[in-house]
């Protein structure tokens, strides 16, 4: 049937189905397609989420700002060993990306709460130290349930206060900041302590950057390569 053959090639069909915009013939063909193709059901659920997500952004007043905003910085990820490039990326991130509204990275664990408002369960603690190796400086394992993961970072430049940013590195090399926090002081052991909501992390590489407050030059910025892996339960 002609309608059926074009179904897989029409990226807008799922949205039109959910919007009730299909003709009778299209509707019949699409619903047959839906019953026979589990992937189409998955596509439909993803499209429903796209619509719900956009509606939520509209209702919360974020959509207008997003439509006007310049795109996030997209930088190529040359190689994990390229420490010099990391520092340059880190500086670029500080200057180019809006802070996300969600509480992803915070100074104290009690700031991280679950959907019912209760503080997140304390999770594992990870120390970020520059290893100068070609692999990652730290590997964070995601817990099965949301937890407040403690990060202990040792900056390479002494300063009274620091700002920290965490960014996800996408497979295509683009980098997107997912959280930042400022006015952090180092503890007596030289480490700066902060917390991340594990539910905001995904498996994959991240870039963690710490910079002395008010001094965002390459010489003072320290970048760490962090790998996040799924919990044993999720594999």
């Amino acid at each position: 049937m002609q309608t059926e053959t074009r179904i897989p090639d029409d990226p807008g069909l799922t949205s039109r189905y959910l919007a009730g915009q299909l003709s009778t013939e299209e509707l019949h063909a699409y619903e047959q397609h839906l019953l026979q193709n589990p992937d189409a059901v998955r596509e439909l659920e993803a499209t429903a989420r796209m619509k719900v997500g956009l509606a939520n952004l509209r209702d919360s007043g974020q959509l207008e700002k997003l439509l006007r905003a310049p795109p996030a910085i997209r930088l190529r990820w040359p190689a994990l060993a390229a420490v010099a490039a990391l520092v340059m990326i880190a500086i670029g991130l500080w200057r180019g990306v809006d802070a996300p509204s969600e509480m992803t990275l915070v100074a104290t664990a009690s700031e991280l709460v679950d959907r019912s408002g209760r503080p997140l369960v304390p999770g594992s603690s990870y120390a970020l130290l520059r290893t100068r190796s070609s692999s990652y400086d730290a590997v964070i394992q995601l817990p099965p349930e949301p937890q407040a993961i403690e990060l202990r970072v040792r900056p390479e430049t002494a300063a009274p206060a620091y700002s920290v940013a965490l960014s996800r590195i996408h497979p295509d090399g683009s980098v997107l900041q997912i959280g930042n926090v400022s006015e952090l002081a180092a503890q007596s052991d030289g480490f700066v302590k902060l917390y991340v909501d594990s539910s905001h992390l995904e498996s994959g590489p991240y870039l963690f950057v710490i910079t002395p407050a008010g001094d965002r030059t390459a010489a003072s910025t320290t970048a760490f390569r962090v790998k996040v892996v799924a919990s044993e339960k999720l594999r």
Partner: protein, 199 residues
Amino acid sequence: MANPDANVVAPTATVPPGMDRAAVEALIAKHYTGLRLLIQRRVGDAEAAADILNQAACTAWEKWQAGQVQRPEEIGGYIFQVAMNLLRNRRRKVVERSDRHVDSEVLGQLPADIDATDRWLEKKIAARVKRILQELSSARDREILVRFYLQEEEKEAICRDLALAPDQFDKVLHRARARLKELLEAYGLQKSDFFMLCL
């Protein structure tokens, strides 16, 4: 606790022979968060939306029991199909009632009466969609997504306004959909999650 990251993928696994209606209802809650929240927004009434989904679960279960679902992986399609039919019927009735005439488009724009759990779920989904918008390289592409998915404008009208060829439009949608699925599936909970539900 429902986790939107874990629930994106519809069941493609084998449904155990002993699956009961409660399991089908749980299936909706767990795997069709997007559908449930979308219906809730369209209806504007959490209870009415729950009725629609319960009925969809009931019908899907009856078809399963009657052997009308030829292959177990079809049950996800049945749930969507029944739920969307019920939603269409409800919207048609609202439009036809002259004494309480409400523009169905206006109804869809109203913030839904949703509870704290669903607000949390929506926020999590919105964060993923926000990331997609932030990653898009042009304001034009962001506008395409909003006009097509949210405002539900026709593809032809958007292409005309933005001087786009149809294949350019399709590419933008294709990239956005692929990225959304990637983000929603990032935790790797897919078919195995469905198995756990049915055990």
